[in-house]
């Protein structure tokens, strides 16, 4: 797939030469606590091509929010230890200067949080806030230009222009969340991250927003990451899914493959805890046990203590993410993902588009 991104006025065609828009390479994030380092994200490799939609699913505490926060460098510097590389469009996000980061945020990568509405000022009308935010990246913009852009986006997220003249307290939670989604799109960013953006909303509002997100992906050629604990949201909206557990990626692949024929025992467990909406009623089962202590993670596979299929090797050695083919056979066993030669970032191997990657000893996760 040739990655072509339509941006706003300065319509640049990004020739990324087949490289992903976002590359997360061997990223680890640790939180400093009084009693030790909590490894919230542990050696994660993940790439996202332009035009793709990726869902990151996992239970609470699995590190999915930490992962996306580190991509935007939103974590407190004094309390976190971040290692690895994040490349966005070739820019090394974790090492670029602050000014560059300020330029990227909102203009190139924007994010919508679960309670984004709380970020709106209660004492300013929506319009004033829109104007303010718009001018951060386009200081000379005229009122008419801003109004035209925001009204177009309001139309897209199904809000009436009247909302501009209201204060946040006059709007319902669902409407505020829509305002925030519209705001996140004002600069037509290349990448939008929805971090549980629809979780607190009612079924109908959530359904409508997800439909809108999918339409925006088509119309504006958005690339999106949807972080959620609800696999049904991912099943509905995303093309690819990454399953996270205790800070590590368990399984990455196409939604149609991973959610229909999961290979990793954790993914299987997660899916069998969701009752189906239609069809025959199956007994659902949970995953026994709880998240391990991330200050002192168990040796070997992090999921092994709760895994119903754990082998002896699982408790000894960490599995290596391996590309598997559809029938679950090993496919590219010798490919190890991650940064290769120290600075030769161009030589990093990333899994091909649509690859199904599993980190499990049962599927060739032994060290190659």
């Amino acid at each position: 797939m040739v990655a072509t991104q339509q941006t706003n006025e300065n319509n640049q065609c990004e020739e990324s030469g087949g490289r992903p828009l976002l590359e997360i390479l061997d990223l680890s994030v640790g939180y400093e606590t009084g009693s030790g380092l909590v490894r919230a994200v542990d050696h994660v490799d993940l790439s996202l091509y332009a035009g793709e939609s990726l869902g990151i699913v996992g239970e609470s505490g699995s590190g999915k929010s930490t992962l996306v926060m580190s991509v935007l460098r939103l974590l407190p510097l004094d309390k976190t230890v971040v290692t690895g590389t994040v490349l966005f469009n070739g820019v090394d996000i974790l090492r670029c200067p602050q000014q560059e980061m300020a330029r990227i945020r909102w203009k190139e990568i924007s994010i919508v949080f679960q309670k984004s509405m709380n970020s709106l000022s209660p004492v300013h009308k929506v319009w004033e806030q829109v104007e303010d935010i718009y001018r951060v990246h386009a200081p000379g913009a005229s009122k008419d230009e801003i109004r035209e852009r925001i009204l177009h986006l309001f139309n897209v997220v199904n809000l009436s222009p009247r909302v501009l003249e209201l204060y946040p307290h006059e709007l319902s939670g669902g409407m505020l969340q829509r305002v925030c989604i519209a705001l996140s799109l004002v600069h037509l960013p290349k990448l939008v991250i929805f971090d549980e953006a629809t979780t607190a909303l009612d079924v109908i509002t959530q359904g409508q927003i997800l439909d809108e997100v999918m339409r925006l992906e088509r119309e504006l050629k958005l690339t999106s990451i949807i972080v959620t604990h609800d696999i049904s949201v991912v099943a509905k909206t995303c093309k690819r899914v990454a399953v996270m557990y205790a800070g590590r990626l368990m399984e990455v692949g196409d939604v149609g493959t991973v959610l229909v024929e999961p290979l990793h025992p954790y993914t299987k467990g997660l899916i069998s805890s969701f009752p189906p909406l239609t069809g025959t009623r199956k007994k659902i089962t949970g995953i026994p046990g709880a998240l391990p202590d991330l200050k002192a993670p168990p040796p070997g596979c992090i999921f092994a203590p709760r895994c119903p299929e754990a082998l002896k090797v699982c408790k000894e050695k960490s599995p290596v993410p391996t590309v598997v083919s559809r029938d679950g056979e090993e496919h590219l066993k010798d490919v190890k993902f991650g940064p290769g030669e120290s600075a030769g970032l161009r030589n990093i191997q990333v899994p091909p588009i649509g690859a199904h990657v599993v980190a499990c000893h049962k599927y060739g996760g032994d060290d190659a």
Binding site: V203, T205, Q206, Q208, S273, T278, R281
Partner: protein, 341 residues
């Protein structure tokens, strides 16, 4: 048999609970809402004429958007709120008079499990005291050691093993899933006839959610407790319920067999709700029915169908009169002008 989301309804025809036209109107202050007449006053009609009955061991799921009155209804059913109109009957006896006459006996019959397990318990009591106090109050067990034994058994049954380890822990030492189990164990210890479960799994992680649902099903089957299961999660509700009631602005708009409601929803609101609920199976592509806006506050709604302002298939009639009940057979009832008998 432990719960497998059985679709067969309980065979016993014994009616445990019936709600007849129950209402809960909260007075709304005129100054704030700038509505209403000088002396008539305005009301937020949280629950506005709900009718249903529940048989022994039956599980009724109640779904709807936030603000539709599902939680208020749950509180009315267990006597935590007093209805402003209508009657609730427990095995043929009127609930308010039961509550006045012998509150203890009533409480033993009707229990509730709340949404947030962290707020449910007194943080200074350990699990042993949390569980044995209701036993003591209701005079179950002759000695403390016997009561402790009962608690242990109940904990083990609910999957908290070894029970002795849990007995002397405090609520903050347990995870959300474990606490919610304790909450269910506490409610079921008295073998109530009737239990309200108000969003019992919405705060829990998906991996523990299944176990809690199965625990509820199992306990309900063992002591044939009827459950009103309130949730906004349609697939979870379908899993656990025999019947489903859909609420909108304080009224039931559709009620019927769980699978029937999910596969053949008739009310436009139910159809919108179900079509917008994402399925966990990516192969199941469904287009959500678009409806306008969000539920308004139920301040003097009507006179027509409450859903008419947002409905995608309104007729003239819908704006003038509230629809009558339409019986589609097999206990499937719907309140809509547009549904043909």
């Amino acid at each position: 048999m432990s719960g497998t989301g059985t679709s067969s309804r309980p065979t016993g025809h014994e009616e445990v609970l019936s709600a007849v036209e129950i209402q809960k109107w909260y007075p709304a202050r005129r100054q704030i809402l700038r509505l209403g007449h000088k002396d008539g006053g305005t009301f937020v009609k949280a629950v506005d004429g709900v009718n249903f009955s529940l048989r022994k061991g039956e599980i009724l799921g109640v779904i709807g958007e936030s603000g539709c009155g599902k939680s208020t209804m749950g509180k009315l059913l267990v006597g935590l709120e007093v209805p402003t109109g209508g009657k609730i009957y427990f095995q043929g006896q009127e609930a308010t008079s039961l509550l006045k006459g012998d509150a203890k006996a009533f409480r033993r019959k009707a229990q509730i499990v709340f949404q947030n397990p962290f707020d449910t318990f007194d943080p200074r009591h350990n699990i042993a005291s949390i569980l044995s106090t209701p036993l003591k109050i209701h005079g179950i067990g002759s000695s403390d050691s016997e009561r402790k034994e009962i608690c242990c058994q109940a904990l083990e049954q609910a999957g908290l093993r070894p029970a002795r380890e849990y007995l002397f822990r405090f609520p903050h030492e347990l995870s959300g899933g474990q606490l919610q189990r304790v909450s269910i164990v506490r409610a079921m210890l008295l073998k109530p006839l009737f239990l309200v479960a108000d969003e019992p799994v919405s705060m829990l992680d998906v991996s523990v959610r299944a176990d809690i649902l199965n625990a509820l099903l199992q306990l309900s089957e063992e002591s044939s407790t009827a459950i009103v299961f309130i949730s906004h999660d349609i697939s979870v509700t379908r899993y656990i319920s025999h019947r489903i009631a859909v609420m909108y602005l304080g009224r039931i708009v559709e009620i019927g067999d769980a699978d029937e409601i999910i596969s053949h929803p008739c009310h436009p609101y139910t159809r919108a709700l179900i079509s917008n609920f994402p399925s966990a199976d990516p192969r199941e592509a469904r287009e959500g029915i678009q409806i306008q806006g969000e539920p308004p506050t139920p301040v003097n709604p009507g006179p027509g169908c409450y859903f008419a302002p947002r409905c995608f298939m309104t007729s003239e009639e819908c704006l003038h009169s509230y629809p009558e009940e339409v019986d589609l057979g097999g206990g499937h009832l719907v309140w809509c002008h547009m549904v043909q008998r």
